[in-house]
Symmetry: C2
Subunit: 218 residues, 2 copies
């Protein structure tokens, strides 16, 4: 049985490994708003318990056991977010904090029943894939909107980095998961991009925004 703090560290390592090769102490600390020395303590403990390998000064990698447990956390987090949005009418910018608590509720029966109750959703409100009962995570090949070029027509698949501010900005522009956009112009000066939604007038997106939108070809 892992504590809430151990689970949050494990999840941070998992998230950082999604792209990079290793998860580094300072990045874990930043993600959890804690200090590097605290992270070192925790990495030692998690390594002792067999959830990860800690190579001092060279970061951490998950073991199979660690990956499996991290996937149950991700599954719970995303299922709860889906419940909050689909059933309790929360906004997609209001769920992260609560799901951060709910993901630590320990009851395998609860998770699986919730999954069925929601109709075994494949993606959470932010477009992120939900691991299935066996912990299998279906990864889609998407690209970032800021890597697209003029004329591309794409569909928004996911928002990476679900900070409330970004989500509310998207709301205000009428953008959501599934929205279809055509890139009209790129501005080298500030990296901003003019896009045109399927219906409605074109508008501009800053690099900060387009960088965090995962899109797929339409």
């Amino acid at each position: 049985m892992l504590t809430r703090s151990e689970e949050d560290h494990l999840k941070a390592v998992f998230a950082l490994l999604q792209d990079g090769e290793s998860a580094f102490t300072k990045d874990i600390a930043a993600r959890l708003s804690t200090k590097a020395s605290s992270v070192t303590d925790m990495l030692k403990k998690l390594a002792e318990k067999g959830f990860l390998k800690h190579e001092p000064y060279y970061g951490a990698k998950l073991t199979a056991k660690g990956t499996a447990h991290a996937l149950t956390l991700v599954r719970k987090h995303r299922l709860w977010e889906t419940f909050l949005v689909e059933r309790l009418s929360f906004g997609w910018d209001e769920v992260h904090e609560v799901a951060e608590q709910l993901e630590h509720i320990s009851s395998p029966k609860l998770v699986d029943r919730l999954d069925d109750y929601l109709g075994n959703p494949r993606f959470d409100p932010h477009g992120d894939p939900i691991p299935d009962r066996q912990g299998k995570l279906r990864v889609r090949k998407t690209k970032r909107l800021d890597t697209c070029t003029t004329g591309d027509t794409v569909r928004i698949a996911a928002v990476s980095e679900t900070t409330d501010g970004l989500l509310r900005l998207l709301d205000s522009k009428g953008l959501r998961i599934g929205s279809v956009l055509t890139v009209q112009e790129l501005h080298a000066f500030d990296g901003s991009m003019d896009v045109k939604p399927k219906s409605g007038a074109a508008f501009s997106l800053s690099k900060d925004v387009s960088h965090h939108l995962q899109v797929e070809s339409n």
Copy 2:
């Protein structure tokens, strides 16, 4: 903000005060499977924070603030139990443990949305009243089945003490909240009682069981 442990202590005091005048250290300890010395520590802390008055050697009483917070916990606990049974098809003997965790999730919006989603239920799966948004607890006047006499016809209103074993025993006899029974005979020897359900054959209930059934006149 109270910790999970503080909240559990507060809830124990609240539960013990329902009948008695004061909540005593040893009873709180028994209820939480902890030691009296740990409870003393916690009572001091909760008293300092203004949730209760601790009269050393004479137990604890809740302040208005303490009662209000305890009621939010009871509300959350019972709403989650209702959700688990009504929406996720849990048995009434399977929900206590999980609700014990869920009651500590901190999000006023979540509780109230859940309440609405469930249709503002007045009672939980065990027949216990659910405090409303304002913390008002509607108490019914019920009597224990073991205080009834021959010929009484009553409806089961609630099960006090929701231990899994008792609940499963009731399941096996086809008894649930709302079941109507007529008392046929009392056996002084062991305190057992013969009862006849509305439809079906009469059967016997031990004192251990009848003592924990709250009933109301039909």
